[in-house]
C-alpha cells in the first residue's frame, strides 16, 4: 500500500520518529512556557541547562556509579537547584525591566555554562550507554523501534501531562497563576509569592535537565547539544503561544510529526520547516496558536 508514492511502512516509521522527536520539543518548550508564563523571562539558558542535565547523568555514571534511573531524578534536581540560585541572585532584579534584559542575561549565562563545559570536556563529547533494561527493541512490522525511544515518548508524555495538570487543575497551580496576574493581592492573602516564583523557575529548568538525561543515551553528550536545539524549541514556543502550557505540549508533538513528514518527502527542508510554520503563524495569529491576545 502506498500514499503519495511512499510505502505505508515507511510513512508509519517516520511518523513514529516524528513523535519521538516531538516529545523532546514538548518537554523543553514546556519548561520555557512555564517560565515565561509565570515569570515573564525568556530563558535563553534553557539549552545550556538541558546540556548540563545530560552531562550530569554522564558524570554521575562515569565517576560515581550513579545509574540512569537515579540520574533521571538527581540530575533535574541539581539543575533545578542551580536554577534557584540563578533566580535568587540574578533574575529577581530584572522582573521590573523589559524582557530584553532577561533574555540578554540568560543568553550570557548560556555562553558561560557552555564555555565551561567545552573547556573541561572538549567538543567531541562523551558517550552515554542506553540503560540495560531498555536495550534492544521491538519489530513493529513497519519499523524496528528501539525500546529506549518508546520509553522517551512515555516518560515525556507523563511529565508533560502531570505539569499541565498541576498548573491548570490544582490549588497550587491556581495560586501560581493568580500570583502572576496580581502578585500584590495574592501576597496580601498570605501567600509567599517570591518563593513561589523561585520554585517555578527551578521547576522549569529542572524540566530542561530532565530532557537532557532523556537525550543522553540517544545523542552524543557534548557542550553544544543544547544550542543546536534551543532555537527550534523557541520556535515551538512561539508557534504554540508564549506562556501557554497546553500550547507548548501540543505544538511540540505536532511539529515533531510535521518535521518527520518533511524528512520523508523533502529532507533538505526539514531544518527550516518549523521556521516557515512560525512565520505563517505569526502573520495569521501573532499570539500563537494557543496564546491569548492581550
Amino acid at each position: 500500500m502506498e500514499i503519495f508514492g511512499i510505502p505505508l511502512r515507511g510513512l508509519a516509521g517516520q511518523l513514529l520518529i516524528g513523535l519521538i522527536n516531538g516529545s523532546f520539543y514538548a518537554v523543553l518548550s514546556l519548561g520555557l512556557a512555564v517560565i515565561f508564563g509565570l515569570l515573564n523571562i525568556i530563558n535563553f539558558a534553557h539549552g545550556a541547562l538541558y546540556m548540563m542535565g545530560a552531562f550530569l547523568a554522564w558524570i554521575g555514571l562515569t565517576h560515581f556509579g550513579i545509574n540512569y534511573w537515579a540520574a533521571l531524578l538527581l540530575a533535574p534536581l541539581l539543575v533545578g537547584l542551580l536554577g534557584i540560585v540563578i533566580e535568587r541572585t540574578l533574575l529577581r532584579w530584572l522582573y521590573q525591566l523589559d524582557h530584553l534584559y532577561g533574555l540578554l542575561l540568560t543568553f550570557g549565562l548560556a555562553l558561560i555554562i557552555e564555555g565551561l563545559f567545552r573547556y573541561y570536556f572538549g567538543i567531541s563529547g562523551e558517550t552515554y550507554e542506553v540503560p540495560e533494561a531498555l536495550q534492544g527493541g521491538v519489530d513493529l512490522g513497519f519499523m524496528f523501534l528501539p525500546l529506549y525511544r518508546g520509553w522517551v515518548v512515555l516518560a515525556s508524555l507523563v511529565v508533560c501531562l502531570a505539569t499541565w495538570f498541576i498548573i491548570e487543575r490544582t490549588k497550587i497551580g491556581a495560586y501560581l497563576r493568580a500570583g502572576t496576574e496580581n502578585p500584590k493581592l495574592v501576597q496580601a492573602l498570605g501567600i509567599n509569592v517570591p518563593l513561589m516564583i523561585t520554585l517555578t523557575y527551578g521547576f522549569g529548568v529542572a524540566l530542561a535537565g530532565f530532557a537532557g538525561v532523556l537525550a543522553a543515551p540517544i545523542l552524543q553528550v557534548n557542550p553544544l547539544m543544547g544550542s543546536n536545539l534551543i532555537i527550534v524549541v523557541f520556535a515551538v514556543v512561539v508557534i504554540g503561544g508564549m506562556g501557554s502550557i497546553l500550547g507548548s505540549i501540543v505544538t511540540g508533538l505536532g511539529l515533531g510529526l510535521i518535521e518527520g513528514l518533511t524528512r520523508l518527502f523533502y529532507p533538505e527542508a526539514s531544518a527550516v520547516v518549523i521556521f516557515v510554520i512560525m512565520v505563517i503563524v505569526l502573520l495569521v495569529r501573532p499570539a500563537g496558536l494557543f496564546g491569548r491576545e492581550n
Binding site: 567538543i123 567531541s124 563529547g125 558517550t127 524496528f144 525511544r149 540517544i218 552524543q220 529532507p267
Partner: protein, 406 residues
Amino acid sequence: MERKYIAALLAVSFAALPAAPASAQAKVSDGVVRIGVLTDLSGTYSDLSGQGSVLATKMAVEDFIAAEKPAFKVEVVSADHQNKGDIASNKAREWFEKDGVDMVTDLVTTSTALAVMKIAKEKNRIAIVNGAGSTRITNEDCNDVTVHYTYDTYALANGTGRALVKAGGKSWFFLTADYAFGHSLEKDTMDVVKANGGSVAGSVRHPFPANDFSSFLLKAQSSGAQVIGLANAGNDTINSIKQAAEFGVTPKQSLAGLLMFISDIHSLGLKTAQNMYLTEGFYWDLNEQTRAWSKRFFDRHKRMPTMVHAGQYSSTMHYLKAVKAAGSDDTTAVMAQMKKTPINDFFASKGQIRDDGRMVHDMYLLQVKKPAESKYPWDYYNVRATIPGGEAFQPLSASRCPLIRK
C-alpha cells in the same frame, strides 16, 4: 615640546629600522620567522585541531631550535577562526600586514582555508593547510604559495571506498551533510565505488548540523544497501553511528566513516564504533617513531594526536628546515626549497610536495578494533593496508589546477 621631538625621533628611527640590518648572512626579515596557527579553538573541530595544533606547532619549533640552532628567532602566534571564512581572512590579513607573520597554518574547514589561501597569494606569504579536506585546495583554487599537507577528501574516499567494495560491499547508500563539503565527499566516493564495480542505491541529504538521524537512517535501512557511507563530519558522524547501532542498522549493514579522526573514535567508544573502516594519514601506534612522538605529545596534551596534529608538527618542521636551508624567509625561495626536499620523518616517508601544492604521502586503511582486542588506552585501530602515496591521492593527470596545465 621636547616630548614631541622625542616621539618624532623614535618614529623616524623605527621607520628606518627594517632597512638597516640587512646583513649579508641571514636574510630572514627582521631576524624572526613568525608562524601563525589559525584554527578552531572553540567549535566543532577544536578537538581534532584546536589547541592540539597549537601545541604540535610549538613542539616543532622547540625541536627545531634545539637541533638546528638557527641564527634567527622563531615565534608562534595563534587565533580562533571560528570556522568562518571572513574571520579567518581578516585575521590572516592583520597577521601578514601588521605582525609580520611569514606562514599561516592549520586552517580547519575548507571555507577558511580557501579564504586564507587567497590572502596569502595576494600578500606573497605561505599557507600550509592541515585541517581542511576539500580537493578544491589543490585543484580549482590552487596557487603557488599553498601546501595541502595532511589529507584530502579524494584520498579518504579512495582509501575507504575502494577497500570496502573490494571486500564485497558492492551496494552503497549515502548519508550526506547538505553543504559543499558533504556533496564533494559524496561525489568523490560515488566515483570510486562505481569505478570499482559497485553500485549506488541512493542518498539522503541531512541539514547541517543535525541532531537526530533516525529518519535518515530508516531510509538507508530500507534501501537494503550493504554499505552506508557517511559523507559528514564531527558530531554529525558520531551521532549517525550511535543511532545506527540503536536502530539495528548495524551490524546488518556496515557503515563507512568517510571523514573520521581518532578523536571521534575516542569519544564514541569502541563498543559503538567497532569494525568500522576509515582512512587516515597517520596513526600514533604505527611504529616506534610514531609512538615516540605521540607519547611526547600525549604527555603535554593528555590526548593522543590526530592526523592533523601530526601533520601540523611535520609540516612546521619541514617549513623551518626549508627557511634555514634557503637562508631566507622569502616566500618563493622557501616554497622552492620545500618542494625540492623530500619529507622523511615519523609522519611521512619519501613525502613530496607537488607543483599543485599537494603533499603526497602514504595513507592508512584502518579498521576499528573490537573492545576485546584493545589492550591499552588509545589502542583503537587495526591497520588493514598502507596505501602508497601514488595511489592514495588524485593523480596529476586528473588535476584541474591551472599551475599544472602550463
